[in-house]
Subunit: 400 residues, 4 copies
């Protein structure tokens, strides 16, 4: 949807090319959606596609254009209020659970907003070589990639809240899940290991603070748990027996009548699962997805095993890279907390990670919905332990 003329002038500017390439993918992901599909917000923790498209654009306007492009005119005076997510530094904003009332501005205005910001970003990038700009652009692109995954995750949820259970043919743009390999256990030896980002490329602030962790002997699965393996837990009465569950997990199971992973349906004694291409018979050989931490933990206890810490996960992934393919996010038994020496940056970008370091558990790896090139071995994802709507699975560990 970007103007051809803009693209043609960008050959020689790698960051601008990267910028336009990533931005284009956001729009392409939505190509199969109808206008009405962009609007609804069934629950507070899910945002409508329209909002993702606007919010990622607002990021570039609020943090870069208004600051670094002289005489920049806002696309619309109210958009800062409408499309700020949680940056208190930037001012007032629409409450998170009211995003489903943003039927206006209409979708066509959001696309115009995207183009307007992209054109001005192109001007800026071609004329401004300030390394701070490049750094913020890179942050904005990482941010947009994260929202690309959220857009997929949220739209999947939104579609299952409609009684017609519509099919969303976005499959073409996603990675394909593979049938699981035979189970093997990978050994890691006791010792002090280095944890955290090492290198000169981009990483988030929560990966900084490379530090030592003392690990004991353990072995870890060579791939995530499959649907078929988890089905054994379910059929053994796993959801009916408090013994396997954390206390808050058991309350969650009972209050919400949870009896299977999200998007599983039992129809006439047959298990089905909903994916972007609609409802299909559950494939036992595919990786298990859409489980909460509570379910991951209960499954591990039932197996007599446990989840890895994020330090064990990262160490194993460095030692056995071929066994970590990022098909599903993998819950770890580490709470999302600061690494030694972690400091929150000044200003609004400092609100990116640190303020969420409570009540969330770390997931490692990546998923079929993660943007290409967005993963790292030191990458730390995090969600509350009761949430299932992410592409989240699990891989188990045995103490030696």
């Amino acid at each position: 949807m970007e103007a051809v003329s803009t693209e043609s002038r960008t050959h020689t500017h790698p960051l601008l090319m990267r910028f336009l390439h990533i931005r284009k993918r956001s729009v392409e992901l939505c190509s199969a959606l109808k206008t009405e599909d962009f609007v609804c917000q069934p629950v507070a923790w899910v945002s409508p596609p329209k909002w993702h498209l606007a919010h990622t654009t607002w990021f570039f306007e609020a943090f870069i254009l208004t600051r670094f492009l002289p005489d920049y005119q806002l696309f619309h005076k109210d958009y800062n209020f409408l499309f700020n997510s949680y940056y208190e530094t930037i001012g007032e904003r629409v409450q998170r659970n009211h995003r489903g009332m943003l039927f206006r501005p209409p979708l066509e205005d959001i696309f115009a907003y995207r183009r307007y910001v992209e054109e001005h970003m192109a001007h800026l990038l071609k004329e401004n070589a300030d390394p701070l700009v490049s750094e913020l652009v890179e942050l904005g692109l990482q941010h947009e990639q994260q929202h690309q995954e959220l857009l997929i995750t949220d739209t999947k949820y939104i579609f299952t809240q409609n009684p017609l259970l519509p099919v969303w043919d976005a499959k073409a743009t996603l990675e394909t899940l593979r049938q699981a390999a035979a189970l093997q256990w990978l050994s890691v030896e006791e010792g002090v290991y280095e944890i955290g980002y090492e290198g000169t490329g981009f990483c988030f602030d929560n990966e900084w603070g490379r530090h030592k962790q003392y690990l004991r002997n353990f072995s870890i699965m060579n791939r995530p748990v499959t649907n078929g393996e988890y089905l054994e837990f379910l059929e053994a009465g796993g959801y009916q027996n408090f013994r396997y569950w954390l206390s808050e997990g058991w309350e969650w199971v009972k209050e919400n009548d949870i009896v299977h992973p999200m998007y599983w349906y039992k129809i006439e004694e047959q298990w089905w699962s909903y994916h972007l291409d609609g409802l299909n018979p559950l494939d036992p050989a595919l990786p298990l997805m859409h489980i909460s931490y509570f379910e991951a933990d209960a499954y591990a206890r039932w197996k007599g095993q446990r989840l890895p810490t994020e330090f064990e996960w990262e160490t194993a992934a460095r030692l056995y890279p071929a066994c970590f393919k990022n098909e599903v996010w993998e819950w770890t038994q580490s709470a999302y907390l600061a690494y030694p020496g972690f400091r929150i940056a000044e200003g609004a970008t400092g609100e990116y990670n640190g303020k969420f370091m409570i009540n969330q558990m770390v997931l490692r790896g990546g998923s079929l919905a993660t943007a290409p090139g967005h993963s790292r071995v030191s990458y730390r994802n995090f969600f509350h332990p009761h949430l299932q709507w992410q592409f989240s699975g699990v891989r188990l560990v045995n103490d030696a």
Copy 2:
């Protein structure tokens, strides 16, 4: 949007002409809406425009076509589930507070549904002279007119929940409010009066059971209360003094921080009101609208007067027809209850009125949003006493 061919063949069939005329108005009312405007449901008691368009169509399909048109094929097997409102007789339905998740079927399908049902209704009406069919068609049209008013009422509410406070230029299709006449008091003498529908035309079952009521002397205003008159109550601290309020009304005021009628805004010491054409300075000479029963009752107590019973209202309206112009619905101090001899009809149409006879107060008259020709002096509207979003005002009474 109806096919021209259908219309051209209907000259000689008055009920079909009436059918198509009323159906057409529903679509015309929406002509200024964008596709995204049809979808959202901010609260459970408001329905999206798309739902009104589909539900009124479903009424003809469920109660007439499937029953009287041989070999009728449903437009879509799931629409009965999607667009039933509250008819338990007809089966399961989407919960009222989930209507905001009906982004699918897309709007274009709803318009196709309307045309499909209209074409089949045209066939039926031209070939079936069963008086029961005519009766049900008339009920369906009255029902559609009621939803036309709800569509206007709901869309006004929906638009004020969007941070941009958009303008909806539907004004052309509505009655215009008039500046209030000078206040006079109309006298009614003590005696036994007949109440309820009298005639051979259509009326709802709740108007049946014409019966006698003994009234005492009273006088009633020659027009509803104006914005300016109510503003005096507000400025005298009416919303801060429990003395004027019913106990539940005072709780409602405090819990919801109510300090003015719905759609009033105070901006820099000036009062504005939102109407379909946007935000305008409050006109003190226009009829007061969008007040709850609690506010109507508190205002009356502050004035040392009272609301009319629905029997007083109906009697005065028969005696002084020129003074009852149906610009706003007028709260009465009558609870919505059965008239003597009221019986609920067998079958689904019996669910129309009787089952709502609890916890609601009667409003009489009509409003600028009421469909042309839909009002009657015996017409009984009813809502819960805390609701403001209707075009509801009040007219006071003095005991002699």
Copy 3:
């Protein structure tokens, strides 16, 4: 518990004798309770016994002693805050749903408070002949009698919320329910009837405004519905069929899983009911108690009959006094609204009735828990239609 000396000096003062007699009954009603039983409040609409004992005492202190007894010293400066119920005129008060936190003042202080106020009332009454004082004392005694019934009603509810389902042997002080007489229908002829209090004794303000009502022919049961009659409705699937229910009643049934009157228990295929003397097999010949308006209305619809209006009830009770024995309160299909000419009195006592005239239905008669001598044919009791905890039943009507 009153001092004997106080009583001995009161022979010759009828109002004081009446005062002490009624006050004594409040304490006697509690004689079988343990200290811990006086404290708990399981839901907001139920008050602990301790609160009833204190609040009825506060009424005399706040409305009479502080106003008419020179140099009266408050028993405790905080009790006005603690034991005011809903009189906004009198100032701030403990929120209704926090009455269960009044473990302090201890019970012994409440009894001391009662004695203190009674002694000062005795002084006042022996020296002050102001008719306004007599009028307020009478209002205070009527108020105390109402709270005696509420104390019984609330304690019954409180006891069933304890897992041990304790027995409260207060039966000695209550009327005994009688086995029902054979069913007969009492006829009333069409005409204009006078409604409301007539006489020179005490009545509440909501009974004032004696006025004419035009009634049509009807016949009414000679006694309330029995447990056995209602059991037929239950066993015919009455709680599973929406057809019999008001829309809000059906929601209430489903949301609260209501499948029988309050205090009915089904244990091993046998029906039991809890009363003050504990759990007993359900007696089909006793009057049905503890049903909501929704249940009364659904039962009537199932029987093809209806509830009386309060005007029909009052007229029948005047014509056939022997058939109205006040064993259970009887729901009518009249909303609780003002009679013609009703005016709210100035000051705090004006808050007694008028401000509750919304969303409640009228019950007529009285119950086994009503204080002796407290009933009148014009007496109007009122509760919200979903409440079951009152001693509430129903009597049906047939149109002629």
Copy 4:
């Protein structure tokens, strides 16, 4: 309250002496309470004193007497249902938020229950030398000591929910807070440290799994933060500035209107704090108490410092024992998670700790309300981050 005869026979049995000594303290703690004070439960996470007294007794009955004392007769068949807390293994129980409805059994029965169980425990201990019994008795006593602290904590909360703000003179039985020493910073050097319980005495299962942690250089305060130090944060607008708060902490502040630690009151420009001896002017030199993790974390951020991890805390406490006096529990920035090799024990006692390992943060040390002899340097307490009602404070750390 224990029978003298029982005590006199126990001289020579150290565990029995310890048992009776600890049991006696529970009753002594309640000596200043009135009967009504034992009953109320203002919120679900607070239990009434009566419940603590019964539940600690039930522990010995359910886990020891019914299993090891031949022919033991339950004191009451329903008490297992009434006084089980959360042990799913043991069966159904009163829901946690219904403990405030246990006005029956009366208090006298609870004391009889305590004596009955103590007498039977005395028989058992004198005749049964099974080491498993001794182990379970020790667990039961540790459990009772934990509930002694909870009883104090809960009663303090309960008393502040009563409008009279009563004084509870339990001070005699508690440790006294000391004025803070001058601030110094204690240094700890980088290296691998051993963490977890070491020894042969009692410890909880969550302290097992002694293991190595790699720590970096840091320094830690020689005492907890004082009221006066925290007041500077408050007066600098700490509760009004999002910058210092975790995102969930900021929501907590705004939703609950938190503007100071629990039990602080501002009366006419002066700060007061409520303690067991009533309301007193806030003493700036005493340790800060009753703050949530969110407040501890915000304060640290405002100071430009941070909370210790539990590993840092334990290491510092081993190195500088004189500086860790256990006056207040100290929040750490460690989530409550399993140590390496942690295994949940079989059976009900396995429910003691492991199932709470989610969404809670670790506190270390002890408080003035902790039972004498109950603390250990490896002791891990844990609560949800928003809770203030514990005797919880904080001690800060600087990175070197």
